[in-house]
């Protein structure tokens, strides 16, 4: 029995900011003070506030420390763990009140959050199955195996209203029902952990922080559809997730929670990990299944749907990590409980990876129906440097943008579609007035052009032609007809591409044209980039009256493009200028202008 638990985040984010050294420092300091039998240090999963990592939480006080260094760990040990004095200066600023510690749920970052999929992330040691069991782990599997028929399990998921969290939002229960009804001597349960959207990392965090929840959910799915084999398709770029999943599967085997005759009920279920090799298209279901079979990861036409012919032509279900993370909870607390959260057609919660121009970068889980304003202004802590919120991009390269005037729309699957974006996997990139929307669209198009597998021509050739038009627009070489061509091309690619990658690739372009057409027109007709991002459309000059001839700009210019005598107005040679903007930042008199 320990009187205190020190939980240190061991997710990818905090590991990158140095949590491994923090853990070592804690262990050393605790040993030096002879506290090993009283204080336990636990490596846990993501708390969500990744930008402020490494994160350390000390219980029973619930003190939330941020940006913890190895030196700070020593101080926390000496002050907090030894003497019982919370080190206030290291606490998350938001969590202190009157010198004491307020409950984490009271802080601005956590107040509006509701952690269902992330419930155990940052609470348990993901490499120790006992910790998962202590928080009711595998009870849901036990419940379905001993009390429910497979039909009842499917009905429960149908009633909960759970929809796929990977992007398209297909009802999970319907998927399971089809696969359960499908005839086959062998069926499969697959987990899509090939999280490829730039900026999205909730699936990684669930796998790193709570791997047993996914194993348990897949076993439940296996029972529901009549499958005894599962595959987890996870990207090789997630080494910590892969390692913890491997440990979790081994531990579940040792305990008899995977394998033959689970809980003595005669139900067998086994799991294998399949590593992805970095292709974005392998997150598409048919390509993923082809890849599991050991073939080149390319999509194929549907039908046949995976529920009838999936992996090795056998009936298969494929669910995303976050979707699966909800399953054990739905079984334990009931479909009604889950359906009580969210909006009419989107139940439960959704995890978003908050990034871009936002103060609290990290992972947030909110009930469906929360508005973008609540996410950005309250949970996210607003846009930094007093800049104005311009738009948010959801759904990554398949999604679109939500402009400032739609900031009060409640976020759910249908509302996002209606305003030309999509839920996608949950990447949420906040943009301010310094972001050029044409440039953003170009960024995502570059990504899809790179990642198009090349099997079908609308996607392979079409997206490249779109990118060429966007390059013409951002370099001031486009004519107004290009805009019409671009839109026509978008619709053709959407209609004719083989898989989701191509069908959704035009979305970032279409939605930026829809809400920011004036920016496109400014680029084409006026040859100007209003946000000042597209280099080819910018020119720098010095206002003679404002320049005092201090020479700062001349000194910082990497291209020697600025000339002028001391105390006399300087001049920029536009032929030599590389448009880096260093002179604008260097000038204290606002004499250098970008136009």
């Amino acid at each position: 029995m320990y009187r205190s638990n020190v939980l240190v985040c061991g997710g990818t984010g905090c590991t990158a900011s140095g949590s491994t050294a923090v853990i070592e420092s804690f262990n050393e300091a605790i040993a030096a003070h002879g506290l090993e039998k009283e204080v336990r240090v636990i490596t846990t999963g993501c708390f969500g506030l990744c930008a402020n990592g490494p994160i350390v939480v000390v219980y029973p006080e619930g003190a939330f420390y941020e940006n913890v260094t190895p030196e700070a760990a020593k101080e926390i040990t000496e002050e907090h763990l030894l003497k019982g004095r919370i080190v206030t200066k290291l606490l998350l600023q938001d969590s202190t009140e009157d010198g004491g510690v307020s409950s984490l749920n009271e802080t601005q970052f956590y107040k509006k959050q509701l952690r269902v999929a992330l419930r155990n992330c940052g609470l348990i040691d993901p490499e120790n199955i006992n910790e998962y069991i202590a928080v009711d782990g595998y009870q849901a599997l036990g419940k379905v195996l001993t009390e429910y028929t497979p039909e009842r399990v499917v009905q429960e998921i149908l009633d909960s209203g759970l929809r796929g969290r990977g992007g398209a939002g297909f009802p999970t229960g319907v998927k399971w029902k089809f696969a359960a009804a499908s005839e086959g001597d062998q069926k499969y349960v697959c987990c899509n952990a090939d999280e490829g959207d730039p900026g999205a990392f909730m699936d990684r965090s669930v796998l790193e922080g709570d791997p047993h929840a996914i194993i348990e959910a897949m076993a439940i799915a296996g029972y529901a559809i009549g499958a005894n084999q599962g595959y987890i398709y996870v990207r090789a770029e997630y080494p910590i997730a892969v390692k913890r999943l491997g440990i979790a599967i081994d531990q579940a085997h040792e305990m008899g929670l995977l394998g033959k005759d689970i809980f003595g009920t005669g139900f067998d279920f086994d799991l294998e990990i399949r590593l992805g090799a970095g292709a974005f298209v392998c997150g598409e279901e048919t390509a993923l299944m082809t890849s599991i079979e050991g073939k080149r990861g390319e999509p194929r036409p549907r039908p046949p749907f995976p529920a009838h012919q999936g992996v090795f032509q056998k009936p298969t279900i494929l669910n995303n990590v976050e979707t699966l993370a909800n399953i054990p909870r739905i079984i334990m607390l009931g479909a009604e409980w889950f359906a009580s959260m969210g909006t009419e057609k989107s139940k439960g919660t959704k995890v978003f990876a908050l990034g871009g121009k936002i103060n609290n970068t990290g992972l947030v889980e909110i009930p469906m129906g929360t508005t973008l304003r609540e996410i950005v202004e309250e949970i996210g802590g607003g846009v930094p440097n007093g800049k104005k919120f311009k738009a948010a991009q959801t759904g990554g390269p398949s999604g679109g943008c939500i402009p400032a005037e739609k900031i009060d729309v409640p976020i759910d699957y249908d509302n996002l579609l209606a305003i030309g974006s999509m839920m996608g996997s949950g990447g949420l990139i906040v943009m301010d007035e310094d972001n050029c929307m044409v440039d953003i669209a170009k960024f995502f198009l570059e990504f899809t052009v790179d990642e198009s597998c090349g099997k079908c021509s609308p996607c392979r050739i079409g997206t490249r032609r779109m990118l060429e038009i966007l390059e013409r627009i951002t370099s001031g070489k486009a004519v107004m007809e290009d805009l019409d061509k671009l839109e026509t091309l978008c619709y053709h690619i959407k209609m004719n591409s083989l898989c989701g990658l191509g069908q959704t690739a035009p979305n970032p372009v279409l939605s930026t044209i829809r809400y920011f057409k004036d920016e496109y027109i400014a680029h084409i007709r006026d040859r100007k980039c209003p946000a000042g991002v597209c280099k080819d459309l910018l020119s720098y000059s010095i206002i003679e009256d404002k320049c005092i001839g201090c020479g700062m700009c001349k000194r910082v210019c990497p291209a020697d493009a600025i000339t002028g005598e001391k105390k006399e107005a300087h001049v920029i040679d536009t032929d030599k200028c590389v448009k880096c903007g260093a002179c604008v930042d260097a000038c204290k008199f606002e004499a250098v202008v970008r136009a």
């Binding site: 029995m1 638990n5 619930g62 069991i133 202590a134």
Partner: protein
Amino acid sequence: MKSLDELKALRDKLQSEVSLRDDGDDKTKVLVGMATCGIAAGARPVLAEFVEQVATRGLKNVTVSQTGCIGICQFEPVVEVFVPGKEKVTYVNMSKEKVARIVADHIVGGNIVSDYTIGNRHS
């Protein structure tokens, strides 16, 4: 793991290890004064004994932690017990030997051990 009952038994056994991490308001809190005065008067063995007693009894809703000086240094070691919904009880001149009775009578049984409280400090 042969049955669901076995899993449930294991969970009940393991729960006390993680119950510490739930910072809900429904817990009994034992605070041991661990400022210099407290430590000098022998608070450390008192703290250790509380942790030990809570563990042996498998009490899930009790946390034991330290606090600073509360200003009555002459009565150290001082221990405060907070039972949810009840007034704080302060025990003074604590020793390792007194701990078992407080855990048994007060924390488990709900009866304050008035022999050790600040009101009866001369006893």
